[in-house]
Subunit: 323 residues, 2 copies
Amino acid sequence: MEKLLCGADLGGTKLSVGLVRRDGSLLDKETVYDHADKTEGQTVDAIGACLDSLLERRGLGKENLLGLGVGFAGHLRFKQGVVITTSNFRNFKMKNYPLRDEIQKRVGLRVVLDNDANAQGFAEYSFGAGRDFPGIIFLTISTGIGAGIILDGKVYRGMTGTAGEVGHTIVNPQSDIRCGCGNYGCLMSHACGLSLPRLVEKKLAAGMETTLPLDGANLRGTIDGRWIGRGLERNDPLCLQVVQECADYIGIGLYNLFQIFNPPAFVLGGGLLHWGDIYLGRIVDKFYALAGDMLYDDIAIRTAALGDEAGLVGAAALLLEDE
Amino acid sequence: MEKLLCGADLGGTKLSVGLVRRDGSLLDKETVYDHADKTEGQTVDAIGACLDSLLERRGLGKENLLGLGVGFAGHLRFKQGVVITTSNFRNFKMKNYPLRDEIQKRVGLRVVLDNDANAQGFAEYSFGAGRDFPGIIFLTISTGIGAGIILDGKVYRGMTGTAGEVGHTIVNPQSDIRCGCGNYGCLMSHACGLSLPRLVEKKLAAGMETTLPLDGANLRGTIDGRWIGRGLERNDPLCLQVVQECADYIGIGLYNLFQIFNPPAFVLGGGLLHWGDIYLGRIVDKFYALAGDMLYDDIAIRTAALGDEAGLVGAAALLLEDE
């Protein structure tokens, strides 16, 4: 029997571990939601426990697995398998934590550890919206903005392993909106979930009104992608403007990536895509308006096809990256 | 005898053809300055004539050459060896012109045709300021801004062959300065030779004064990198401010490329580097201010080492790219 792949997606809200066939289809998975309250070591153990449980109920052993790919929401030293830092977990920063080797010790399998956006991008490239292309630029637009750069069938990771931090590129140096990174005017300060409260605040301060209820005392706790989405459904003018502005910045981001990479395809994923056609259409329009006659070949702009499983499936697929 | 390389640099002001040793050193070259008044076909013939003359005076034949690499100032379809368009020549646009095959017919050698910034970047990577690194991002800041992206020893060219057009990335969407590409606020509209007259005009309009003589009737013909350089020498406050602003934008550009590529090294070339340490120092400072604690490994920022020969030598070196 051909060996199965195994993937894990270790994020701030949930930990999923799954058995994946070579064609990218999911055979079985386990998901837990309480890992973020734990310590580093307990989290490593939770991955191992999920895997043990999966193997037991499928009547499989470790000898049936090619290895374990892990997608992680944080900055990594890829070659060393070490977490540099992460801000996505309550109880730990995993500062300089040798996560890959710790998982390897626990599960007794070859482990590949990569950034979650890289894993998602590689999944879309291998099995999803990007499978028809020799490479893609995958952009995930959610609470934050991440990218997976797939060139000629391989994830491009750079010197340390932190390539693809497109969210931190400066797109408006005159901006008064500050990102968590400390800089003003990066893509993340204008066009992701984290930026929404500030964008709404600015419109309210400028006298715009919204038809949606606002918890004035806790604007930052109230406003997120879903709140804006509800506004879109009822044609709230403030929400519509926020969506348009976010879309314009993402369009600029895509255009910049086009000029840099001249890629055959973009794949867009992440929660804000739920805003629908009004959002995606505006992104695409902005991109083509900027690209104008500098675009000499067709470029595909597709939405992600694999949904929530992309991180897990992509992490598993990374076991085959060098084949 | 090991075969020699041959390189040509076909730009708007001059055409150079040279014989290059495998270590990147130049054995001999010919340069002509009247090619831009000619037709496409005559330009192809001028390359062939330069090569014939070089071979004759060195007592060599075509059998002593591995091939001919050509660096060209324009947009190319790399795989096809076709010029899409160029705005650097007086008499021709070379629209969809099969330049590689036309040269090949004339010279009877294997020809590689690439963008001039790619050739320069590959030269710096192979023999110059980037030779200690597994890859570099080369940026040339001159009349325009171009880049050569060298990843793991290969030029990254993208789908069509137009990757690396970093000059056209939007860095200020609120800008009122328009680039020749039609967009506002791209890097080229703020930080290259072409943008200098407009930057000076804006400062004059805002009431700033310069100690340099100005030909009011022909501001655009007067102001270039050298004019600003003369201002720097005499501490002209307007020129100093223009240089600082240009440097800040290049610093932003480098920072954005760092977040995208996480490269081990940047190499900076091009005429505006003659502005010296006040310019380069400000670029570097801006870069590190933005990168802050997101830079986990040392990154080298070096100035180009090969000078005017980089285009020719790099084009020749491209003959060895796949070895």
